[in-house]
Symmetry: C2
């Protein structure tokens, strides 16, 4: 079952409707992560008619359905992106030099959850990891 089918089902199962706007948004985000503004810009540039408010609303609906997760790309909360859960659950490193976003995988949230559960009895339900610094290219430049 594709991401788009999953999304349609999830929306219909909760009494929602599949609209033209939702369809184009879902198709666009099926392949990669997007933040609301960029996704909106991309769609309108491609001639699709949809409003920014609807992009925000649809991303929120899909997140509620468990099909997307929101992430922040840098520690200072610059940009909120939504990642489809079909892609591997990654976190992001943002280069302060060139702005490049480099995804990486880690089970650090899982490890932290275990530590907190064992040590303090805390039950972690969600976590956010954002790191920034300098990529290989930008480290060389400053040398």
């Amino acid at each position: 079952m594709t991401f788009i089918e999953q999304a349609s089902d999830a929306i219909r199962d909760s009494g929602g409707r599949m609209t033209r706007q939702r369809r184009i948004i879902i198709e666009q985000i099926a392949g990669a992560q997007w933040d609301a503004e960029s996704l909106y810009a991309e769609l309108t540039a491609a001639g699709e008619e949809v409003s920014l408010a609807t992009v925000y609303r649809t991303l929120s609906v899909l997140e509620g359905a468990g099909l997307l997760q929101q992430r922040y790309l840098s520690p200072d909360h610059e940009r909120r992106v939504y990642v489809p859960l079909t892609t591997l659950q990654t976190h992001h490193f943002t280069c302060k030099g060139c702005g490049k976003v480099i995804p990486f995988e880690t089970d650090i949230v899982g490890r932290l959850s275990s530590e907190l559960a064992a040590g303090m009895g805390l039950q972690v339900t969600s976590g956010c990891i954002c790191v920034e610094g300098y990529c290989v290219d930008c480290q060389e430049e400053t040398t």
Copy 2:
């Protein structure tokens, strides 16, 4: 050397001036973490005269000097707080049940930095880790 002395030195060393407003802000944040609005409310409640804009600006200056670090208390980055680097409490767990914020210490950012440096050559300069879930009390209630 106290936090206040450190701050004064850092400000003067960079060509800045120690003003009445900066002094009271520095004294207040020397002991604990604050977000800008709360710090402002606390100071004005205590009869101190300072503007919210100056609170924001001073926190930013101190962060630039390396004396404070900003943190978000929950994964959805609701509240930004500044923590003095003299205290060791570095990260925060927010309870979704009662709103309690529980600080904890971990070298998990350090470990992640090492992993990224070794594996991908990335140089991490700052990172943010925020976790939320349920505290011990709130776990019991739902049982």
